[in-house]
Symmetry: C2
């Protein structure tokens, strides 16, 4: 069968013929209908993950067909017993185990969760990894309710957009930041009240005075600007970070942290129970993920390049 395979960090992702893997105990064959791209896949091809193995089929997200029914795939592999954190043998589908960018895969049957009926297979494929990350970040770590005002940084990325949709579904008030005025404008079309371009000096002061401050802030940048998030946080606020694209956090004020009784939560992915709760939440609120572009597997290198450039607004999906 054909698949998108990681070769090594000196080559782009490769569309090539691979053997259909054997079934291990507890696994079943499924046909992949659609699979979505995540930043993780791009970072793997750049060598930014530990334990990389050549020849592995990439991809963590998929909607699959099994015995005539469609399922989402839970991309957690062996989360382990502690709900707070994955155990030592935990990994994410698509490295080091074979992933979803292929026609047919072997997957543990307990990873299959029925697809919500309101989603097409392409829409459903966009949900697993980003939805799980967003759900834990916003609902579990941020404890979002309808009384909260939420700031979502870097709107346009897959996780950030799902966070926005979940926050709106929870009845919260949503504001966004981006380096692109166009992305802020699109976010407003989707329900955000307003936003600021973080390339502009004093963006956080403007956002603070427009909004009145935030109860929850969701960030994936970190970096020297992170301390500004403490300034726009309301007393008792939760700041949740699931990325560090802007590097180390500098000049963080412990005084603001303790006087405002703030919480900072680092989070990535979520446990199996949270995956089930996320799919239930999507079903209950009939949430449809924002899609950027749909590619064939053969167009894999173009899809990876689009995500690497950061020009997408919403999820990039392969229809298979």
């Amino acid at each position: 069968m054909k698949a998108l395979v990681f070769e090594d960090v000196h080559h782009p992702v490769r569309f090539s013929e691979v053997a259909v893997p054997k079934l291990n105990e507890g696994e079943v064959w499924v046909d992949v209908m659609a699979a979505a791209l995540n930043h993780r896949d791009v970072w793997i091809t750049k060598g930014l993950y530990p334990g990389l193995q050549p020849g592995v089929v990439l991809g963590s997200d998929a909607c699959v067909l099994y015995e005539g029914k469609q399922y989402l795939i839970n991309p957690n592999v062996n989360w382990g017993p502690d709900p707070r954190v994955g155990g030592k043998s935990y990994s994410i589908l698509g490295m080091p185990t074979h992933g979803t960018f292929c026609e047919k895969m072997a997957i543990a049957k307990d990873r299959l969760v029925p697809k919500p009926e309101h989603l097409s297979s392409v829409q459903a494929a966009a949900m697993p990894l980003g939805g799980l990350t967003a759900f834990r970040a916003l609902m579990k770590k941020g404890k979002c309710t309808s009384k909260d005002r939420v700031c979502i940084n870097g709107i346009g990325g897959g996780v950030a957009l799902i966070v926005m949709q979940f926050a709106l579904a929870a009845g919260a008030e949503v504001w966004v930041t981006s380096s692109s005025d166009e992305k802020i404008s699109k976010a407003k079309d989707l329900g955000a009240v307003g936003g600021q371009n973080y390339r502009h000096d004093g963006w956080h002061k403007a956002l603070q005075s427009q909004s009145g401050g935030f109860d929850i802030i969701i960030d994936s940048a970190g970096g020297p600007g992170f301390n500004n998030l403490l300034k726009i946080a309301n007393p008792g606020a939760r700041i949740v970070t699931y990325g560090g694209s802007a590097g180390a956090i500098e000049k963080l004020s412990p005084q603001i942290l303790f006087w405002k009784q703030l919480e900072i939560h680092g989070t990535t992915m979520g446990n199996d129970q949270e995956f089930l709760e996320m799919v239930e939440f999507v079903d209950q609120h009939k949430i449809v993920p924002v899609l950027d572009r749909i590619y064939s597997l053969e167009e894999g290198p173009q899809a990876f390049a689009r995500m690497d450039q950061g020009s997408q607004f919403g999820k990039i999906v392969f229809e298979i």
Copy 2:
């Protein structure tokens, strides 16, 4: 009556004659039997608090006599409706309202909580502000259980020592850090398993390899060394900070934060419900605070100087 009064930031605390204040609605007269010093009092005399008013009697902690019975004083003034954070009219006893470093005070009757029987009045006076800060930090933010390994930084300070006593009472394993080998040794006498001097290079690596890493870390320094706390944190750990004596936090890694699913909590004091739970915890576990030295009110300037030098091990108390 005689009292220790804040004059201005150019003068040390003054032992002087003041009028007994009038009773407001809901207030009663109490005789102060003992009152304890906190860093807050020292910082006020240095002008490091907003809204300072000359002529205010200092002091947040006390054991008082009212109608023949002894009570602890809850130092919260108007916490407000949100359990997470004090409201806009919230303050701490002793600035801007008159505090406990005096012979007789007017206090709202609902601030009086019966003294646990196992404590003397001098011991009881050492508990309110530090105990409340420690209880919220360790038990509420850190969620301490008997399964946790706890690191307490800067052992010797009043709050840090109470945190240690609470953690031991909860059945947790306790390790400490200090700039003084003598203080580490004293902490081991009180039940800590071990500790490291943070003035030594590589202290965090030594502590990590000795202990196996920490589920809860309680800090009041912040500063450039804070990122080392992330390195010695176990996955899922809670890092709780109630101070910033070493200044801004630098080079904090968002990657360690999210890969380890860490939480950082800023905290100061606690709400009224937590105060009641703290006193109940102290009563249940028969906890006796560590006392450094006992002074008379007249010796106020010496007591303030001792805390300012940081040479104390345990609480500094005035017997009145």
